[in-house]
Symmetry: C2
Subunit: 502 residues, 2 copies
């Protein structure tokens, strides 16, 4: 009886979803073998030829799957990784949707990966390696594939999973003879993890080629509750590196200890001055500039399922840094120590006063923040702590003139972006997404993470919408990055649904 | 006229000194070639076979130079580096002097050494590489050798220079036909930089073999003024490693930043709580237990030439950590961050919340301090800052029970040692040292550095005296360790003078 109430369009979509699922089920081993090959190509910013090899792989993959119009889009600035572009025109279609993912990954330190794993030697694992799951030989995929298995490699989830799901969704539609509802633009970026510094150049240069009614961004994880989410905004991001300088040469800590100042102690004191015990950033004006949260957003935030207890248990953390739900915390600008270093620790430590102490800090920004202004606030704070601030190595004259010297290295950055929750394209994409899911996707005003989405609005004039597919515990940006295979499969179904439902 | 007033013994010593100098001058290239071979043998604690190869080299060197009685002294605990023992009996001698140096070096990180340098590929440099001096080809030594040249290698100054100078001093005396004034014991340790944990076992086991009237320790640098020094005591030393634990897996700083606590920030706050801006350690009771400084010591400290301005200029440091002369600062117990680390920095940083943050801390101790008690004070302080302290990886139950968790790793340690400034053997060694110098040696109550000299007193019943020979800017314990060749030459003359003047 109930089935009679389902509208015809939903029926059609369910049928398509089933066919896509069957198509995938019949070729899981082939898909995973191909995905493994893709993940084996190193994709870090420092390795330009690796990035180009990735772009070429993607281009070949698009062509193999019937996307005849393809092109590598290079920015004007030479020496950069290209974006891979593809286009499918659907006769009679009145709308165009653009699908974005990025193929570059965060820097890697292979020594930190678990035994048997390597960022660019993808391994199949029975489950989460952090929970003790064992490695599997790749040839087991020829028998059957468990969706709870995972693939470990840099980019496995962030964001080659996006690239692969989007292309395979189109391959599936083509194989089952289903025409997309709209024209398709494929766009795969190669420098997202390096800050997308040249994406504006590409957008400016290829504005006409990239004209679309909507842009869907596939990046980031699904909600920690396991449910999929439709994300209407992202935080902005910027970074600053601090180097506190000590004596010109490393000093024996016995002969000079407690007489020559230790830069590690000075940096520790400086960092400690930036936050209080309640996790509030104490840098002057840090929370200024924030735009108020709308009533609709507030309601959406309240409807996000609580994941705090689950996360705290999973992560082995008893107390959150801030006494508020995670979804409220990510509505604020943040300051986070990515890492710090001075001389060696443990077996690599010596009894020295280090010559310098370094920290890398990233800041997430919300609507209203400006990334350069946020950097300026940090620098003003450093000065207020009694440091001379320089953007170069200190000179002899500076060493002679100042008690404390902190060198700062400003990275680039970008501001937050938000698409209104009642935007018609957002609503349409949300319906297509829901059609591929057992439970409707959670509507999220902003993701905690960052993407340079502001430039879609600014240059292309389109408000983007984000549809993540990766498991939430994917270790993206760190060692042991992984994708749960079931999430990759679901990603294919989702994008097939969006291509046919938009 | 003045020469008539010089006592006969001083005459004889001057004559010996001149002959030793001539002997050395005639064979500088050979000596340096041999020293280079010695420095090429890796001598870090982790490399047991390297340490044994060093011991064998020393043993062979002693034998080649006529020390027939030699022996490798192993502690009872298996797997340790041996001490190299040698003995020369002088007919009719009533006194025995033991000469100590160590052949092991601090851990190395070859990537931190200057371009062209490597810890175990000794290089000859025109002067200080930090001041821009250039590398020299080794074969230039066959023409002539400038005493201001330096040799760069791990152990070049700390403390293979001691081993080499002592052995060559005896070789020189033998070559010029001069009999030592006393019986000689050579003793070269192989685990000083690892804390001399098994030296007590060796002392206990070979107490009879090691009986001497005085022990002279050759280690550490000459005074920063360039003058030689006679050192009556050393600070004790102990270490503690701190590991603040964060989330079980590295987290994306956008999705979790400012909600999951960051262990790097927690460690920064903990370290910052240990010292105030005046450089005073704020750990409760840290300066308790110190024995008062004697009037004689106070007088000696006042007579030490000021080096503060010179050091501040040389090191590029405008302000000392404590507003007192260096010689007063090293009369206090100290706390120093040897290094800290969390995830990556600079090009190696990613936008993550690290899983842990580590710091290694060393503490120097003065007479009256006990190394275990000093560690306990630090641990009590960590608890007082709200941390649960464990000596293992935290368990799931601990993670669920405590807001903040700090794992501590206690290293071994030893207490300070002091020989009274009017000790008769100390006075005798001081006179023999002065006879080899243009200016009398500075009398120093305690060295800032540490050696496990307490055990000489405790087990062997002898109050040791330290005679350093290395240039003060030798970068010991760090990258670019070096010895100024003139200091090596002077070391040979000094030990020849002590052997004939004691």
């Amino acid at each position: 009886m109930i089935s009679l109430l389902i509208p015809a369009i939903a029926f059609a979509q369910q049928e398509t979803a089933m066919k896509v699922r069957n198509w995938r089920a019949a070729r899981e081993a082939t898909l995973l073998t191909d995905y493994k090959a893709f993940l084996s190509i190193p994709n870090v910013a420092a390795d330009t030829s690796g990035l180009k090899a990735n772009a070429q792989w993607i281009m070949d993959r698009l062509r193999t799957n019937g996307v005849a119009q393809t092109k590598l889009l290079y920015p004007r600035t030479p020496g950069q990784a290209p974006a891979v572009f593809g286009r499918v025109d659907v006769p009679g279609a009145t709308r165009t949707i653009a699908l974005y993912a990025h193929y570059d990954g965060q820097p890697v330190d292979s020594t930190k990966w678990a035994t048997g794993l390597h960022p660019f030697k993808p391994r199949l694992v029975e489950g989460s390696i952090m929970q003790g799951a064992g490695l599997l030989a790749w040839d087991v995929i020829n028998k059957s594939v468990d969706p709870n298995w995972r693939i470990y490699a840099r980019g496995a989830s962030d964001d080659k999973a996006g690239v692969f799901s989007i292309i395979e969704a189109y391959a599936a539609l083509r194989a089952i003879g289903k025409t997309p509802a709209c024209n398709l633009i494929f766009f795969f970026e190669g420098e997202e993890e390096a800050g997308s510094d040249h994406l504006p150049e590409i957008f400016e240069q290829y504005k006409d080629l990239l004209r679309a009614d909507a842009w869907v961004i596939c990046d980031g994880p699904v909600h920690a509750s396991g449910r999929h989410q439709l994300v209407h905004g992202v935080r902005g991001d910027t970074r600053i590196d601090l180097i506190v300088h000590g004596p010109r040469r490393p000093l024996h800590s016995g002969h000079y200890g407690n007489w020559i100042p230790n830069p590690a102690m000075e940096l520790a004191r400086l960092l400690a001055s930036m936050k209080n015990e309640k996790g509030e950033v104490t840098i002057q004006g840090f929370y200024d500039d924030m735009l108020p949260i709308t009533a609709m957003e507030r309601k959406a935030i309240a409807a996000i399922p609580p994941v705090e207890k689950q996360l705290q248990q999973e992560l082995g953390v008893r107390r959150p840094e801030r006494e508020m739900p995670l979804s409220e915390a990510i509505a604020l600008p943040s300051l986070n120590i990515n890492g710090f270093a001075a001389a060696g620790v443990g077996a690599k430590s010596s009894n020295v006063i280090p010559v310098k102490a370094e920290a890398s800090i990233d800041m997430r920004l919300v609507a209203g923040n400006d990334w350069k202004r946020q950097q300026d606030k940090v620098i003003a704070h450093i000065r207020a702590q009694g440091f001379h601030v320089t953007e170069q190595e200190p000179t002899d004259a500076e060493r002679a003139a100042y008690d404390r010297i902190c060198q700062v290295v400003r990275s680039g950055g970008y501001n937050a972006q938000k698409t209104p929750m009642d935007d018609p394209n957002a609503l349409r994409i949300g319906r297509a997404l829901d059609a591929a899911l057992e439970q409707p996707a959670i509507r999220v005003p902003t993701l905690g993470g960052s993407l340079p989405l502001f430039m879609f609005e600014q240059i292309l004039g389109v408000k983007p919408i984000t549809v993540p597919i990766a498991n939430h515990d994917n270790n993206q940006h760190a060692e042991n990055e992984n994708i749960r295979i079931g999430n990759l499969w679901k990603g294919i179904e989702i994008f097939a649904s969006i291509m046919t439902g938009f």
